[in-house]
């Protein structure tokens, strides 16, 4: 097989497979990459995202840590300063709260505090998100709480191919990245993943559905992570009703692809933003503020937010009512399409 055909080859993978495949590839590419966290070695991670890494790269580079998130994030700071490329896993994003002081106060600002003495090529991987009947604090969407912290990059893949392309970019990035993986998408999201080198740059949104010319669409939906899939389903429902919906996957919240947002809003004028997080001060609020800054005069109707509610993420029997689904998203799109 020639190199060219190699590079073009793809395979259908779940998002989980794509992540695992990428970790293998990046560890093989760069021997400074270290994977560590709770249950990542012998067990291959509680979801098997790190399966096989221990066998392939040995116990010096794939390390089970004690059950202590702050020191997982905190040692990453020291490892980075030692010249390593740490890829710690926080078993569930909700438990990054235990490491908040290290992530927000230290990881995010090591470069700033030391005025560039140290690069901070840390990629913190963590699954999150609802719909899979997890116990407390396993499903919480916390991206907005991190987005207010300068120095972090916040990356949320919504397809298997992007999981590869964005994770590889994250690991090679000299800045700290929160790489947030949708629990519900791990096995549900399956698509064609390039087998060769595949890098998706940060700050470039992806159009998931929509007309060639955005001006031909009626409403644009901005979403990230699993809500992209939900928005796509909503858009399909509405296609039958003749409402043309553009679905844009933001991919990275920091940096944000303001150009694509502006272009879409200017062309379409009607916007829905979808998030799993609680409404108040979720990242949707920032998007609305950004649209207000960038394209206020193009808006033909208020931007609609579809969010989790301002209640803690609930128990199993209530969660389907909490997390936005295609029906709720479709209703918001319909209202926005029809607004005066």
């Amino acid at each position: 097989m020639s190199l060219a055909s190699d590079a073009a080859a793809t395979r259908t993978m779940t998002m989980l497979e794509a992540i695992n495949h990428t970790l293998h590839a990046e560890m093989a590419r760069d021997d400074r990459v270290m994977v560590f966290g709770e249950d990542v070695a012998a067990n291959g991670g509680v979801f098997r995202a790190t399966e096989g890494l221990l066998d392939a790269f040995g116990e010096d580079r794939v390390v089970d840590t004690p059950l202590a998130e702050a020191v997982i994030a905190g040692t990453a700071v020291g490892l980075a300063a030692a010249g390593m490329v740490p890829v710690p896993e926080i078993q569930f994003l909700g438990f990054s709260y235990q490491a908040f002081h290290q992530i927000a106060g230290q990881v995010a600002r090591l470069r700033y505090r030391t005025r560039g003495r140290f690069d901070v090529p840390i990629t913190i991987r963590a699954p999150f998100g609802g719909g899979v009947r997890t116990p407390e604090l396993h499903s919480e969407s916390l991206e907005a709480q991190y987005a207010n912290i300068p120095g972090l990059k916040i990356v949320l893949p919504a397809s298997a191919a992007d999981a590869k392309g964005l994770l590889a970019t994250a690991i090679r990035d000299p800045d700290p990245v929160l790489f947030l993986e949708p629990l519900r998408g791990y096995r549900m999201l399956r698509d064609e993943v390039p087998l060769g080198e595949h890098l998706v740059p940060f700050g470039e949104a992806r159009t998931v559905m929509g007309a060639d010319d955005p001006a031909d669409d009626d409403v644009v939906v901005f979403a990230w992570s699993f809500m992209v899939e939900m928005s796509r389903r909503a858009a399909e429902l509405l296609a039958d009703e003749g409402i043309r919906v553009r679905v844009v996957d933001l991919r990275t919240l920091v940096p944000l692809d303001v150009d694509t947002i502006r272009t879409c809003v200017e062309a379409i004028g009607r916007v829905v933003v979808v998030q799993e997080a609680p409404e108040t001060n979720g990242f949707a609020s920032e998007l609305i503020a950004t649209i207000n800054d960038e394209a206020f005069y193009s808006l033909e109707a208020p931007v609609a937010r579809v969010s989790g509610y301002d209640a803690p993420y609930p128990v199993g029997q209530l969660e389907d009512s909490y997390v936005p689904d295609a029906g709720r998203i479709a209703a918001a799109i319909r209202r926005t399409a029809g607004a005066a």
């Binding site: 709770e38 840590t65 059950l67 202590a68 998130e69 997890t134 407390e136 128990v315 029997q317």
Partner: protein
């Protein structure tokens, strides 16, 4: 890291305070908790319950603890594995745990006057809560003490240390029970700490620490009773490590064959706390195979009823807005109203 030879040997010694009735009650509790746990496990397999963590291996610890405490005065803050073994504190504990496993919001609500908290998922966060509660009881000159459970793995969290250290400074009436079952999911204790054992961690706090054989309900009972008498006498906190072995998977979501050495597990099964206690009580003439039958049948019937009641308990989806605040904030009230309106429109 090994159980000190001096404590918790299997030759159980009768101590005066433990009546035959209590011994029988302890074994009954142990057998029952295993049944309850297996039934909840099976509910998950049948798609009727969420992820849950079986009790297997911890039965003696739970029986020892609940019999050494006074349910009318003392509080228990569990991690997540213990709710099937605290029936002496009230029948609510199991009923609510079943609801919890079923994903029902009321599963978190263990009603007054039962002095048990719901499961804690955010590991070790319950240790500061326990210390605060004990501090509050002391401030109010209330009798009793607080007992908090956490696993060997959870001792690696900062909250455990911060809380035990503060408990020492406060002389808080709290008993911190480390259930050392050898594993934190797939992580063995050797990767969790280099401490000689978990009781040694008490040196960091200047409080007493003891290690007991957690497969021996009577040894656990004695250690807890001792710690309790110190706590209520104002002598402060105690760290009690109970050493056992996790006999099942971590949770319904786990495959321990990936990492648990088979021989280690086989050896642990020889010391199955239920086997140990059953043979001891049989030896003393306090128990027969028929007692086991009766107990298992009663536990099954108890669970039938709990599951039936739990599954029959309806949930109104609008409850997701309740108990966020004492009263809904205007915004939450608004979200709730829209939720009801949308539902009205859709259904």
């Amino acid at each position: 890291m090994a159980v000190p030879a001096a404590v918790g040997q299997h030759g159980v010694v009768t101590i005066p305070s433990l009546s035959d009735e209590t011994l029988r009650s302890m074994l009954t509790a142990m057998l029952s908790s295993r049944v309850y746990s297996q039934r909840v496990f099976n509910l998950q397999r049948q798609g009727r319950a969420g992820t849950n963590a079986p009790v297997d291996g911890s039965e003696a610890i739970l029986a020892g603890v609940e019999h050494a405490l006074d349910p009318s005065e003392d509080w228990v803050l569990p991690q997540y594995r213990e709710l099937v073994g605290l029936e002496r504190f009230g029948t609510d504990v199991l009923d609510r745990y079943v609801l919890y496993a079923l994903g029902h919001p009321e599963g978190g609500h263990i009603p007054e006057p039962t002095r048990v908290w719901p499961p804690q998922i955010s590991l070790a966060t319950q240790v500061p809560h326990a210390v605060g509660l004990a501090w509050g009881m002391k401030a109010r000159s209330e009798p009793g003490c607080v007992l908090v459970f956490l696993g060997d793995g959870s001792t690696s969290e900062g909250d455990f240390y911060e809380a035990c250290n503060f408990a020492g400074v406060l002389d808080a009436p709290v008993i911190v029970v480390v259930v050392n079952n050898g594993w934190a999911i797939s992580t063995p204790i050797a990767r969790q700490t280099r401490a000689k054992n978990f009781a040694e961690k008490s040196h960091a706090f200047g409080i007493p620490g003891v290690t007991v054989d957690g497969t021996d309900a009577i040894a656990v009972y004695e250690a807890i009773a001792d710690a309790r008498s110190r706590a209520v006498a104002g002598a402060g906190p105690t760290l009690v490590e109970c050493v056992t072995y996790r006999l099942g998977p971590h949770t319904t979501a786990d495959d321990p064959t990936r990492y648990v050495p088979g021989d280690e597990l086989a050896a642990a099964r020889e010391r199955d706390p239920i086997v140990v206690m059953t043979s001891e009580l049989e030896r003393r003439g306090l128990w027969t195979a028929a007692d086991t039958e009766t107990t298992l049948a009663a536990a099954d019937a108890r669970m039938d009823a709990a599951v039936r009641a739990g599954e029959a308990m309806a949930v109104d989806q609008v409850e997701l807005f309740d108990h966020v605040y004492a009263e809904h904030t205007p915004r939450l009230a608004d979200q709730r109203a829209r939720f009801l309106a949308d539902r009205g429109g859709v259904s």
